[in-house]
């Protein structure tokens, strides 16, 4: 639980370390290609996929452009159904609210459904500091928690681990968190799933406080929606007496009917299934539960203020863009230094955190701009467009002075035929002196590339000499 993304190096540094790890590259290649193929088949089967995608994007735009109205509508609907609504401007405030709600129950243990929002605010660590243990119950989150590791994928946080590594983590760490792993545990995925079932069973049955996020919140009715596979979500949402849901303010959809779009887009685009095994939908206090909804900003309004960048808030966290990204497949999720890795992370993280660090500034460059992410996005987020927009923002910020000086000099030379001809002749004359490697910081460029040797004669000189003849 001590692991943290804080103080991570910039993307190129972290990525080059990851690329050197052959096991990691093998695990990632296998996993991303498996999900990619499944998704393609599930999407191809849906005859009206393109229309659903257009509707999904438009519905999210509608919510974002009138978010204040929809937030107030949601609040009222949840309260009408007996739920409590809290507002958290940032991570610290959200953690304080959760802490005080847990304290009020007198419990020192909570069970958690996998949730990106609570990862983002570092809830587990904040609770641990105050003596409250949060147990992750999603299988992949459990692997990450037991391994004192960091998540590397939105949907499958332990995607960087293979079955042998998972077996080793279970055998080593389960005992210190609860019921130990069976002595004869093998690396058969069925046996590993069974070990997770046994490990968490007693914990679920006795849990008094559950903490979740939500995939969707319906403004019209106050209904919250959680999609999952294992049943750990149902356990955490159903059995505890108190349920606390931390939900980003961008998770809203306007009406109940609009779920018909997202309940088709999300399962097919994320796990590549016609439908995920379990979905829970509840409105306010359900079956006698004490229900609290915490609406989280934490940088979302900053992203909303950028008219180009705000489309990143349409994201429904399916992670299809990670699975098709050539950069993610090689660098892995940790290099992005955030709970949101991959192409969506490269545009979401810096907008939420606000370009405060070398890492955040390097993220919009963690892409080849190939556009595969845009093609698969179920809500048509134009990720390459936002990447370029953010690069321009960073470029204009004055931090990249050397690059600007070089570009300025190039502009002067390229816009003057005389200067260009002179510099081409000079380069041609000294072509034998062209270095194999550039000095200083420029050496980063030549580490992986050859410097093209200038031709002895420029095209323009050749043309002129041909005419003379």
């Amino acid at each position: 639980m001590s692991s943290t993304f804080v103080g991570m190096p910039s993307f190129p540094k972290a990525a080059s370390r990851a690329v050197g790890n052959a096991q990691l590259r093998h695990n990632l290649h296998k996993a991303t290609h498996t999900i990619r193929d499944k998704r393609a088949a599930a999407v191809a089967e849906q005859p009206d996929w393109a229309s659903l995608r257009v509707a999904g994007a438009a519905l999210k735009n509608r919510v974002l452009r009138h978010l204040d109205l929809y937030l107030e509508q949601l609040e009222e609907a949840v309260q009408r159904a007996g739920g409590h609504v809290h507002w958290a401007a940032d991570a610290a405030e959200a953690n304080r609210i959760v802490l005080s709600l847990v304290r009020a129950t007198g419990e020192t243990e909570v069970v958690k459904v996998k949730s990106m929002a609570t990862q983002e605010i570092g809830l587990n660590e904040a609770l641990a500091e105050e003596g409250i243990t949060a147990y992750e119950t999603d299988l992949a989150e459990l692997i990450v928690q037991l391994g004192d590791d960091l998540p590397s994928h939105i949907l499958v946080p332990a995607i960087h681990r293979n079955r042998a590594e998972i077996r080793e983590i279970f055998q080593r760490a389960m005992a210190s968190w609860g019921r130990p792993a069976p002595a004869d545990l093998t690396d058969d995925p069925r046996a590993l799933a069974e070990a997770a079932r046994l490990h968490l069973r007693e914990r679920f049955l006795s849990a008094k406080v559950g903490i979740s996020g939500a995939n969707f919140a319906v403004a019209e009715t106050g209904t919250l929606v959680v999609l999952e596979s294992e049943g750990n979500g149902r356990m955490c949402l159903t059995l505890p007496e108190t349920l606390i849901s931390v939900v980003g303010i961008e998770k809203l959809v306007p009406t109940w009917q609009d779920l018909e779009v997202f309940m088709q887009l999300l399962p097919r685009s994320s796990t590549g299934e016609r439908m995920n095994p379990y979905t829970s939908m509840w409105t306010g206090a359900t079956e006698g539960q004490d229900f609290h909804l915490i609406l989280l900003d934490n940088g979302r309004t900053k992203a909303l203020a950028d008219t180009v960048g705000r489309q990143a808030l349409r994201c429904i966290r399916c992670s299809a863009c990670l699975n098709v990204c050539p950069v993610y497949e090689r660098a892995g999720g940790h290099a992005y230094g955030s709970v949101y890795p991959g192409p969506i992370g490269a545009i979401l993280t810096p907008q939420l955190r606000g370009f405060g660090s070398e890492l955040d500034e390097s993220l919009p460059y963690a892409s080849t701009l190939c556009g595969a992410c845009y093609d698969v996005c179920p809500v048509a987020i134009n990720i390459p467009e936002v990447l370029l927009h953010l690069r321009a923002k960073i470029g204009a910020s004055g931090v990249h002075r050397a690059e600007k000086l070089a570009m300025g000099a190039a502009r002067r030379v390229l816009s003057s035929p005389g200067l260009l001809a002179a510099s081409q002749r000079t380069a041609g004359r000294f072509r034998r002196l062209t270095p194999r490697r550039l000095p200083g910081p420029l050496s980063a460029w030549t580490d992986t590339r050859d410097i093209p040797a200038p031709p002895p004669q420029s095209f323009r000189d050749w043309w002129a000499s041909r005419e003379e003849r």
């Binding site: 296998k30 499944k38 107030e72 507002w87 016609r274 939908m281 203020a305």
Partner: protein, 198 residues
Amino acid sequence: MGSRETILVRVRSALADVPRAETPDSVRVPRDYQRSRSGPDLVELFLDRLMDYRALVHLDTPVAELARGRGRLMVPPGTPGEWLSGVDVVRDDPPLTATELDRLDGVLTGCAVAIAETGTIILDGGPAQGRRALTLVPDHHLCVVNREQIVRTVPEALQRLDPTRPLTWISGPSATSDIEPDRIEGVHGPRTLEVAIL
């Protein structure tokens, strides 16, 4: 100023570019997708999708015949008597604790709606369904679906549902894709899902 107001003020100033006259409805949502469509026989399709999830399926077998000899089964309020002849029935009255539910051999329920295209069964806590824990904790779920409860598409199902009720959508037995992402059945929810279509 509380955080509620802080956030709403931040949202409004972030949206300074949105024209004052614009309403949510003026953001056009093209709904060219299909709410319903024609295709293969509903029951055939539903069966096919369920089997794809490795659920066990029965067509027109009397429920009591399936439920008999399966040990102690939880039976929610509102279950038709003819499903229960000869069945070892446990009632949730007074309500059982989670630990008590865990000791049962299974649960027998009906459902509210089923979706053929996605192989999904939806429970809404109505008659023969009960509270959510009843179909979650026991390891074996035998679910009865009447033909008229089956619709083809997701939009058709949402139209029939009441959002004020607690809803559980079930598509196959509990599963995970978290280990070298293959779908493996059987984690925390019922590891066996058996569906009887009448």
